[in-house]
């Protein structure tokens, strides 16, 4: 066997898994099967990206190519979720929700989930059920939002989607309390899961939706953490925001120290709609957050906040593409990173303003705090503007903690660690305050506090 074969093997093993699934009648006869099949063909053709691809220049995913991933078994109806202690849920900051869906290693855990408090016009169900029931609305949007070409991971997700949620907000429907989707990995070795979430928010609807991706190592009960596990989460979330819809979205990535997380968030915004997303990444060996948002109607507004706080040899790559296709829209990207040890951050934000998207107001900021000499950030803004009456700004700051400020605080009586903690916390808290789900914000606040210098 040649070495090239080895590199391809794992693409082929995903394909082989697909062929095994096809043997199941329900899978092969589903309306969704041709969509899966087409996506798989494109995935097999392109393979996984390499650092030669401009979009992956700073993020080497070689490590995932050599693993023979076992597929999570979320597709089959019969899958039953591993039992986890419901008390663990409290640690995910769920609080009171409109609906909660908890998936454990790809399987819905009914005992931990609840969808019985849904207000009128709000529907939350397992994606596989919505696919099985041939939901027309779902069929017309699934795969139509996250459409960026050559997104190998999104293609693989479409081919192998195994779990996730379908959220539908009818026109004018309001979910007062958040809808929380929790994807827990308990640490089954070398499992690959492909969760998918489709959110359709019709005109003037409102909701707050939380996606938490959590590895159980380090947060076991009684402080007894499990060993870090190698697993792969390949998630895609698509959001359709109808005219005047207002969606808040929080994504928490707190995967195992040895886990890989690839996530794509696709958003399309119609006239006067708003989408505000806050992405907090605190753990995971390698995390890639793709965002692609398209402002398709006048008056649309989207905000993407991010806070990454990493250490060890962890890497996070935040990769955003914001397209202004209509006039009078606003988009903001505020990404902050705090990198300790030999961790590595990548930020790439592309703003694309189409011809005719006049009066666009697009802003991008990437601020980085490097807490160690070995920590690293690669920050790459890109503006492509084809309209003449627009306001686009971008800025990046990279720095260590200001030692003059530390001395100032110490000269007032704070210890060195106290002064450092205060400054790091201040840097993080602006983004944490964007989390509107209080128990979640408190949990993340505590997580950040825990990582601040002590003494």
């Amino acid at each position: 066997m040649t070495t090239t074969m080895t590199a391809n093997n794992n693409v082929e093993s995903f394909a082989a898994h697909f062929q095994r699934l096809e043997k199941n009648d329900a899978f092969a006869r589903s309306w969704f099967h041709p969509v899966r099949k087409a996506a798989l063909a494109r995935f097999v053709e392109s393979g996984f990206p390499t650092t030669k691809d401009e979009d992956w220049r700073f993020t080497n995913i070689k490590a995932i190519k050599s693993v023979d991933w076992k597929s999570a078994d979320g597709v089959s109806d019969g899958c039953s979720a591993k039992i986890i202690d419901p008390q663990l849920l409290e640690q995910f900051g769920i609080g009171t929700t409109t609906a909660t869906l908890v998936f454990v290693d790809g399987c819905l855990a009914p005992a931990l989930s609840s969808t019985d408090r849904l207000p009128k016009g709000v529907r939350v169900e397992r994606l596989s059920d919505a696919i099985k029931n041939e939901n027309k609305l779902l069929a017309s949007h699934l795969g139509q939002v996250a459409t960026q070409k050559d997104n190998a991971f999104a293609l693989l997700n479409t081919a192998l989607v195994d779990n996730g949620a379908f959220i539908h907000l009818a026109a004018n429907a309001v979910a007062e309390k958040p809808i929380h989707l929790v994807f827990v990995s308990t640490g089954d070795q070398a499992t690959a899961s492909h969760p998918r979430t489709m959110i359709i928010a019709e005109d003037n609807s409102q909701a707050t939706i939380v996606e938490s991706y959590i590895g159980l190592d380090g947060i076991g009960l009684d402080g007894v953490g499990l060993e870090p596990a190698t697993y792969l989460t390949n998630a895609v979330t698509e959001v359709v925001a109808g005219a005047g819809a207002n969606i808040r979205h929080h994504k928490i990535v707190q995967e195992s120290d040895d886990a890989f997380h690839f996530g794509t968030l696709g958003v399309s915004l119609q006239r006067d709609s708003r989408f505000t997303s806050t992405n907090i990444c605190t753990d995971g060996r390698l995390t890639r957050n793709n965002v692609e948002a398209r402002l398709l109607g006048e008056g649309g507004q989207c905000t993407f906040n991010g806070l990454s706080m990493l250490g060890g040899e962890q890497l996070v790559d935040n990769h955003l593409y914001i397209e202004h296709a209509a006039a009078h829209c606003e988009s903001w990207q505020y990404y902050k990173g705090i990198y300790n040890d030999a961790s590595h951050g990548v930020f790439s934000g592309r703003i694309f303003v189409r011809d005719g998207a006049q009066k666009t107001d697009a802003k991008q900021t990437n601020m980085t705090l490097l807490l160690s000499d070995r920590a690293q950030i690669d920050s790459k803004p890109q503006l492509e503007i084809f309209a003449d009456d627009v306001k686009c700004t971008h800025g990046a700051t990279i720095g260590q903690i200001d030692e003059e400020a530390i001395f100032y605080l110490r000269a007032r009586g704070l210890t060195d660690a106290g002064a450092r903690s205060m400054m790091i916390h201040a840097f993080a808290s602006q983004t944490l305050n964007e989390i509107t789900v209080e128990p979640l914000r408190e949990r993340l606040e505590a997580l950040v506090q825990e990582r601040l210098p002590k003494g």
Partner: protein, 257 residues
């Protein structure tokens, strides 16, 4: 025992010697003024006393209430009652004055085995002291010094001094950049702090501050040494004759009381 006893203090940055044998004794209840041309080492002296590690002390010693000051961490010095009002107050993004000052007050209280101040008592203290130096209390909930005017920064320093209630206050050019009204207010804040238990070292370029904060002693610093010391008249003399006067051979190294 003197409160502060500086003996033959030498300090350098890399290969440059900045302080070249400073001797100064400050007793409780006294106000000393240090004057001197630009670059003579005034701020360096102030920062060395506060514990800035950019400066390496190569010789000499500093006793504070009989203890080795140079052996203490900057925060220990602060908790023991040393306060430095910075010539160039630092901006701290995202941290409000109220927030860090509460931590500072409580660090000091903890150091002295006292209970922490609760939010209500702290706010009361802050309100009183802000009024004393006419500092707009809205500024206190904004990021420290960020977007503050020069005058606001200096008022903020004096305000912090009043809240922290130090034993030894070192004011580094607190008057620079202040108009006459602001100067009077700041001086009022400082004068309220004068007491037999407290000492102050006031670094300034200009005699005008000393019209409002009348010193007991004036020292002239030149090239890292105190070249002349005297009473408050010395400031007036300097004002009239300029620093060139001390450079023309009138310099007499002095060891004060």
């Amino acid at each position: 025992m003197a409160m502060l006893e500086i003996r033959n203090l030498h300090a350098r940055v890399e290969d440059t010697e900045i302080l070249r044998g400073i001797n100064l004794t400050v007793n409780a209840g006294e106000v000393h003024s240090i004057m001197g041309p630009n670059g003579s080492g005034k701020s360096t002296l102030a920062q060395v006393l506060a514990g800035k590690d950019t400066y390496e002390v190569t010789e000499g010693e500093v006793l504070y209430n009989g203890k080795d000051l140079l052996d203490m961490e900057p925060n220990e010095r602060a908790c023991e009652g040393v306060f430095l009002a910075f010539q160039y107050p630092v901006e701290i993004p995202g941290v409000s004055t109220n927030y860090f000052l509460k931590a500072a007050v409580n660090a000091k209280r903890k150091h002295h085995g006292q209970e922490e101040l609760d939010a209500v008592d702290f706010l009361e203290l802050v309100k009183e002291k802000a009024a004393l130096v006419e500092l707009d209390s809205k500024l206190l909930s904004r990021s420290v010094n960020e977007g503050f005017s020069g005058g606001e920064k200096k008022r903020n320093e004096i305000f912090q001094m009043c809240v922290l209630d130090p034993t030894l206050a070192i004011l580094d050019e607190t008057d620079s950049g202040l108009d006459i009204d602001a100067l009077k207010t700041v001086a009022h804040g400082v004068n309220c702090m004068r007491s037999p238990e407290r000492a102050m070292v006031v670094v300034t370029h200009y005699q005008r501050l000393l019209d409002y904060i009348v010193p007991d002693f004036v020292h002239v610093l030149r090239e890292g040494r105190i070249v002349k010391s005297g009473g408050k008249e010395l400031a007036l003399e300097l004002e009239a004759k300029g620093y060139a006067w001390v450079e023309e051979g009138n310099a007499t190294p002095v060891a004060t009381s």
